[in-house]
């Protein structure tokens, strides 16, 4: 029985134990749950973190490769552009060098040609000297001509006076007024009186001139009639009444401003007459003649 008792007590014990243990477990349940929860959360967090870091690593690899790829591509582009710019700069520099040489050469040769300018200015000063000399000559010539005309006038007056004073000529018997015996030589008027022939005053005018011209022949200074020939020859006749135009074709044109044809036309242009002038001078007589013919014809028509 003891055994039973013992078992019984043991059952009791067991019950007690069972209860105690259950209550104990109930007591700890909350705490244990929280602990488990914490362990699980930690573990899961570890797992997720590991996964995330794994993903990050992979993303970095992808980004690294992509960025490297694009950067290399961009760099290649940049190098290309830089090379291109360098090349262009070089070419431009060379072009500038060529253009500089060429432009310098061209301008010196054709536009601001120092030697051409120098020779032009020298030529100009020579030409100026020449023109000055020619003009001085021309002036001298004109002066001589004027003097000559003056002298002719004076001489004419003298001869005219000699004609008027012809009665004062000395004769063999009696010396004239101008031939004083107290002078070593006769007065020049006396000599002139001797040369001049007496004419009746009425006819004096026409023959006196002729006589004068004959007398003047040897004494007059030889004066070239072609005054300043180089100037005259440029425009042919100047005081003729008819429009004789200078021959153009034979000499060179002056400027290059207009077409030669136009210049020629301008030169040959004669004013077109007004209507009033276009009727001819003998218009009236012609008209009368025509009328007369008509009248003559009319009767014949009747017949």
């Amino acid at each position: 029985m003891a055994e039973l008792l013992k078992i019984k007590s043991e059952v009791e014990e067991f019950k007690k134990e069972y209860f105690y243990r259950n209550s104990q477990a109930e007591e700890n349940r909350q705490r244990e749950y929280q602990a488990a929860n914490r362990i699980q959360s930690w573990f899961r967090a570890c797992k997720v973190r590991a996964y995330l870091s794994h993903l990050h690593k992979k993303a970095i690899i992808i980004q690294r490769i992509w960025r490297g790829f694009t950067a290399r591509a961009r760099f290649r582009q940049m190098v290309k552009a830089a090379y291109f710019i360098m090349k262009m700069n070089f070419y431009e520099e060379m072009a500038i060098r060529i253009q500089r040489r060429w432009r310098g050469f061209f301008v010196r040769k054709y536009i601001h040609n120092y030697y051409a300018r120098k020779s032009y200015l020298e030529g100009l000063s020579r030409k100026n000297e020449l023109v000055r000399m020619e003009l001085a000559e021309l002036e001298l010539l004109q002066k001589r001509e004027r003097d000559c005309v003056e002298m002719v006038k004076e001489q004419t007056a003298k001869v005219y006076q000699a004609h008027r004073l012809h009665h004062l000529l000395s004769t063999k018997q009696c010396p004239g007024v101008f031939n004083s015996p107290f002078r070593p030589a006769p007065h020049e008027m006396e000599l002139l009186l001797r040369q001049v022939k007496y004419q009746a005053p009425a006819r004096l005018d026409s023959r006196g001139r002729a006589c004068l011209m004959g007398m003047l022949g040897p004494t007059a200074p030889s004066f070239p009639r072609t005054l300043g020939s180089q100037w005259i020859k440029t425009t042919g006749t100047c005081c003729s009444s008819k429009p004789i135009l200078p021959p153009i074709s034979s000499k060179k044109q002056q400027g290059l401003f207009r077409e030669p044809g136009e210049v020629w036309e301008q030169r040959m242009l004669c004013p077109d007459l007004t209507l009033r002038l276009q009727t001819s001078y003998t218009h009236l007589e012609e008209a009368q003649n025509q009328l007369r013919h008509k009248y003559i014809r009319l009767p014949t028509g009747k017949l």
Binding site: L124, Q142, T234, T274
Partner: protein, 507 residues
């Protein structure tokens, strides 16, 4: 009463009318009689005599009327008011040549005074009648008609246009071909009067072929004709490039230069005017004249004449020099600058001096070389004197200032610039100092000379406003010299030195 006695009365009346008209015509010759005649009512007495039955009385009456109108403006107006013009114009077509001459004379003396009176002649149909007279055979009538037309055309463009519209130009050109010298002269002067107003009128004159005929008369020995011919050519060429080219193409040039030695002053003046009018258009036209030696001749001409005759020559040089630096160099080489200096000192009239100053400016403003040529003949100082002279006219001062300014901006000839540092207004001084500041940094000899001649001292004495361009130029000059030298020449430096001496303690 017998028939003879009756006739005698008429004869006597006619004789006394004739005598009256003759006497009035003679009296009208003297200007002092005009007023008395006018007060005596000569107009109203002459008017019926214009309609007299005897042609010689008509003609003498017209002559008297012409002389009266010639002398005074009032009488010319009286002729218009008395309605004599229509009557004259009507009889111009029908009467004999002596009457025509007298009538043209009346029209001329009326038209001479003012544009209004000329307009009255045009309104009364005078121009058409005068053009009809140009077709007459008698050279005297043509001359009188051409003269009257010239006086009408002289006033303004519209009157001139009415003369052209009446068809006068071809007939005038035909008159140029007549043998009579007087007619040629008048025709040339009328053409000149017509073409002076507008390019269109000049073009009509050219279209008729006047240039070729005028060009042929350049070497005519008659001085008065030459005057008119050159004046006509210059009036034609002044309007446009194409007209000037037409004139040049007529081959007048070496021959016209010879006329610069003519005895007659006005021929020479008109030749110079012609050159001026041609030259002013383009560099090419100037080149033609320069190449044929025209410039040397004009420069010589400047030395031979005085006063207003010089003006066209001076202006021609200015126009030529203005075109290009080559042409300006040609002016310098032809010894133009000394001649201009002479003109500047000899002439007294301000407008001539102004033109000379302008010309000098045109010559000197191209390159330093040109400016040096001007500076070596001491023209800068003369221009400055004229600019500073209070009695100079405003235009002269303006021209002098402009010339000085343009020459100074190019001048690098320092000995010529140095005198301009003294007694100069600041607006000119600015340019002088600017030139120094440009030259001195690059020229060591000039720097040395600048110090020894006292220029640096003068520059230190200038008191410029800080910040102005003058001050900048002065600073630029100062920076070319060592600091001690600049300080040495600064005003008041000796006091500073003395101050230092007093403060100095020997050790």
């Amino acid at each position: 009463m017998s028939q003879r006695q009756i006739i005698q009365v008429f004869e006597q009346y006619q004789k006394s009318r004739f005598q009256f008209v003759q006497t009035v015509a003679d009296l009208a010759l003297r200007p002092q009689n005009i007023e008395i005649l006018q007060n005596a009512g000569v107009m109203s007495l002459l008017r019926p005599l214009m309609l007299d039955v005897v042609p010689s009385i008509q003609q003498t009456a017209a002559l008297a009327l012409g002389r009266l109108a010639d002398h005074s403006d009032d009488l010319a107006e009286a002729v218009v008011k008395e309605d004599i013009l229509p009557q004259l114009v009507q009889s111009l077509g029908s009467q004999n040549r002596f009457y025509k001459k007298a009538a043209a004379f009346v029209l001329r003396s009326v038209a001479k005074h003012s544009p209004e009176l000329s307009q009255a002649v045009v309104v009364s149909g005078g121009v058409d009648a005068l053009v009809l007279c140009l077709e007459e055979f008698d050279p005297g009538v043509k001359e009188a008609a051409a003269w009257a037309l010239g006086y009408i055309a002289r006033h303004n463009a519209s009157l001139s246009q009415s003369v052209v519209d009446a068809g006068a130009v071809p007939l005038l050109v035909l008159c140029l071909l007549e043998p009579e010298m007087a007619l040629k002269r008048i025709a040339a002067s009328t053409l000149s009067d017509i073409s002076k107003h507008t390019p269109e009128l000049a073009q009509t004159v050219v279209d008729v072929g006047a240039i070729a005929h005028l060009a042929q008369m350049i070497l005519n020995p008659d001085a008065k004709l030459k005057r008119q011919v050159f004046s006509a050519l210059s009036q034609i060429s002044k309007h446009s490039v194409s007209l000037a080219e037409m004139v040049i193409e007529a081959d007048i040039f070496p021959a016209a230069v010879a006329c610069l030695k003519d005895q007659d002053d006005y021929v020479r003046k008109n030749v110079t005017t012609l050159m001026r009018e041609v030259v002013k258009h383009t560099p090419e036209l100037s080149q033609v004249i320069v190449n044929c030696g025209g410039m040397a001749a004009v420069i010589d001409y400047l030395g031979e004449c005085r006063g207003n005759l010089r003006l066209p020559g001076i202006m021609m040089l200015g126009y030529v020099a203005a075109h290009s630096e080559n042409l300006a160099m040609a002016v310098i080489l032809s010894k133009g600058v000394p001649q201009l200096a002479l003109c500047l000192s000899e002439e007294h009239e301000h407008h001539i001096k102004a033109a000379t100053a302008w010309t000098i400016g045109q010559i000197g403003h191209h390159t330093p070389e040109h400016a040096k040529a001007v500076a070596t003949s001491d023209l800068l100082i003369k221009l400055l004197e004229l600019y500073m002279d209070a009695s100079s006219s405003e235009d002269l001062q303006a021209k002098c200032k402009k010339a000085l300014k343009s020459i100074l901006q190019k001048c690098t000839y320092l000995p010529g610039l140095e005198p301009l540092l003294y007694d100069v207004p600041s607006n000119i001084l600015k340019y002088v100092v600017c030139q120094f500041s440009k030259v001195l940094p690059n020229d060591s000899k000039a720097r040395r000379l600048f110090v020894t001649s006292g220029g640096l001292k003068k520059v230190q004495e200038i008191d410029a406003e800080p910040g102005s361009s003058l001050q900048e130029h002065i600073n630029a000059i100062n920076s070319c010299f060592p600091e001690e030298i600049v300080r040495y020449y600064s005003p008041g430096y000796s006091e500073v030195l003395l101050q230092r001496l007093e403060n100095y303690q020997p050790a």
